[in-house]
């Protein structure tokens, strides 16, 4: 990867990064001034951040699906309780 390619990749990753907007602006403004050593460091940092976010996203999605299942099961239970309530109340009222 040459310097130009590194700069482009950093630009792309920075846009998707969670870092504050002000810092992003500084990075993008000064990108052409940085030497290759700094660019390497930036690339590595952004890649690590990206991995962390991917993991977080997949964890949250898994949570989302599992949680939905829990609440769906609850709804079935609640309906059964309501059915029992109707039966019992009817029985109580009609002797």
């Amino acid at each position: 990867m040459n310097k130009k390619e590194k700069q482009n990749r950093i630009k792309e990753l920075t846009e998707n990064s969670l870092i504050p907007k002000e810092v992003k602006q500084i990075v993008l403004k000064n990108l052409v001034k940085y030497d290759e050593k700094i660019l390497d460091g930036m690339l590595e940092s952004l890649a690590r951040e990206s991995v962390a976010m991917d993991k977080l996203a997949s964890d949250l999605m898994r949570f989302d699906v599992e949680s939905q299942k829990r609440w769906d099961d609850l709804e079935i239970e609640q309906l059964k309780v309501a059915d029992d309530f109707v039966e019992q109340t009817f029985k109580d009222l009609t002797g």
């Binding site: 907007k21 500084i26 700094i38 952004l46 990206s50 949680s67």
Partner: protein, 502 residues
């Protein structure tokens, strides 16, 4: 004794007319005009030849017949539970059930009429709906409307409208006191997808998200700095209810104001609390996590509960409407009593939310805790912050010099050592470097990678290693456990070392 249903199979295969014949062998004189005449049932006490006995069924008394019907209907009630409502079997069994039920009721009436002057012993009637006890008179429609619980849940959910939300439990319970005025305002959305379809959609969307990392990143862009969770939930609302843009914006606004959102500041707070050995399950953090983990689902469930209550109320009213007590009077439910009963049911249903709520909060907290663990955070999530240090460092160097100060100013607590820092020696330099590399993204470092790193660490720390021709004090063989090794040089060389991988 041989009963009218000579065998379940024969009974089930028979047409209604045949069943009628089986049940009333003497009442078919008109219907059997074209059939060969069959010998009549013998008069009681007569000595008719054996072969002249009725082939189908002898007439039996209501007292004998009723237990048979009772047993058969119970059997049907069990069988019908496992059948698909739209299947032919379901229809057939429903008809049989209804047929038997009517017969039972007729026999019951006859039996009561015969007991003139005798003490009345009320016979339990067969319930309208298979598998449900009851005494009311029912029609075929009720049986046809028998729907398994899962389908009813789906149907109730389909009538839910997301926008009609309740602020809290108190509001909800107050609502039960106003017999569903608010519910009545809810629109029905006939185009709503079924629960199963939505579940499939969520799963497939989940897969899609995971398979498209760039899209995930886009979605997560504002997680710390903005309101990713809100966007995420709002998106689910949109997909779930096909809301208009305006409604979606409103839903998002509501969520933003009502639900806790994990902002960048929150994330830092969580991180700092974890770093200080604190727990997430305390104080404001706990509340915030509860809101984030299950607020939306809890509120949707409150709306659902409302639907369930409405249905229960209607069902109870209908059953009471069809019921007459011994004096033939309709049983009335006092409005106050009705509210009280439904309020109690509502409270019970709301209290059932505790179970999934607790699990949700626990699971969600774990995810956040794992992902914001100080070590993990320092290693990965501070990547962005580290980049900022790099960037700002370069900026600083250009104008003032010295990146260390910048790192301290910009990096959140815990990130000071991200670009280097010290590592206590464990066993030997080799092992310490190997572990450090593993923790910094070189999952399985080769010997040459470790050697490169270890030499760098030895030189930077002035440690002598005879085998590698490096002079210094102390010698690596004289170092104590826990000796702090400066890893800054190794950190800078990390990219190069990673590039050495085969």
């Amino acid at each position: 004794m041989e009963g009218p249903p000579k065998g379940i199979n024969e009974w089930e295969k028979a047409s209604d007319e045949e069943r009628w014949k089986m049940l009333n062998p003497e009442s078919d004189t008109v219907k059997t005009e074209n059939k060969p005449s069959e010998p009549k049932a013998p008069e009681p006490g007569s000595h008719a030849p054996k072969e002249a006995e009725p082939k189908i069924t002898p007439q039996i008394s209501p007292e004998d017949r009723m237990p048979q019907i009772d047993a058969r209907t119970q059997e049907i009630a069990k069988e019908i539970k496992s059948l698909d409502k739209s299947s032919a079997d379901f229809r057939q069994k429903s008809e049989e059930y209804e047929f038997l039920r009517k017969e039972y009721n007729e026999l019951s009436m006859k039996s009561k009429g015969a007991k003139t002057g005798e003490e009345k012993s009320p016979e339990p009637k067969i319930p309208a709906e298979p598998g449900k006890p009851g005494k009311e008179v029912v029609d075929l429609e009720t049986i046809e409307n028998f729907v398994p619980v899962e389908d009813r849940v789906r149907s109730l959910k389909e009538n839910m409208v997301v926008g009609a939300r309740n602020k809290d439990t108190e509001d909800f319970l107050n609502m039960t006191a106003e017999p569903y005025e608010r519910v009545g305002k809810m629109k029905e959305d006939k185009n709503e997808k079924s629960l199963l379809e939505r579940a499939k959609e969520v799963v497939s969307r989940g897969k899609e998200w995971i398979q498209k990392p760039s899209w995930i990143k886009e979605r997560l862009k504002g997680f710390f700095t903005g309101c990713w969770w809100e966007v995420h939930q709002a998106e689910k609302f949109r997909v779930g209810k096909k809301k208009t843009g305006k409604e979606l914006a409103e839903a998002a606004k509501q969520l933003q104001s009502m639900s806790g959102l994990l902002t960048y500041a929150d994330a830092l707070e969580v991180h700092n609390r974890l770093a200080a050995g604190g727990k997430l399950e305390e104080g404001n953090t706990k509340e915030k996590f509860e809101k984030m983990a299950c607020e939306v689902r809890r509120e949707r469930n409150l709306i659902y509960i409302n639907q369930v209550l409405q249905q229960a109320d209607q069902k109870l009213q209908e059953r009471l409407k069809n019921y007459r007590d011994v004096s033939g009077k309709q049983v009335q439910l006092d409005p106050e009593k009705r509210r009280q009963l439904l309020g109690a049911l509502g409270q019970k249903l709301v209290s059932m939310q505790d179970s999934p709520k607790t699990v949700d909060v626990k699971e969600f907290s774990k995810i956040i805790k794992d992902n914001l663990d100080p070590k993990y955070w320092k290693r990965y999530v501070y990547g962005g912050a580290e980049m900022a240090v790099w960037a700002a460092g370069a900026y600083w160097l250009n104008f003032a010099g010295g990146s260390a100060k910048v790192a301290a100013l910009n990096a959140p607590p815990g990130a000071e050592s991200i670009a280097g820092g010290d590592a206590p020696m464990k066993d030997h330099i080799w092992g310490t470097v190997k572990q450090w590399l593993t923790e910094h993204g070189v999952s399985d470092p080769t010997d040459s990678q470790i050697m490169e790193g270890a030499k760098k660490v030895a030189i930077d720390n002035g440690i002598g290693v005879k085998e590698w021709g490096i002079n210094g004090t102390p010698m690596d063989t004289n170092m104590g456990q826990g000796y702090l090794l400066k890893m800054g040089g190794l950190a800078k060389k990390l990219i190069m070392i990673k590039g050495m991988a085969p």
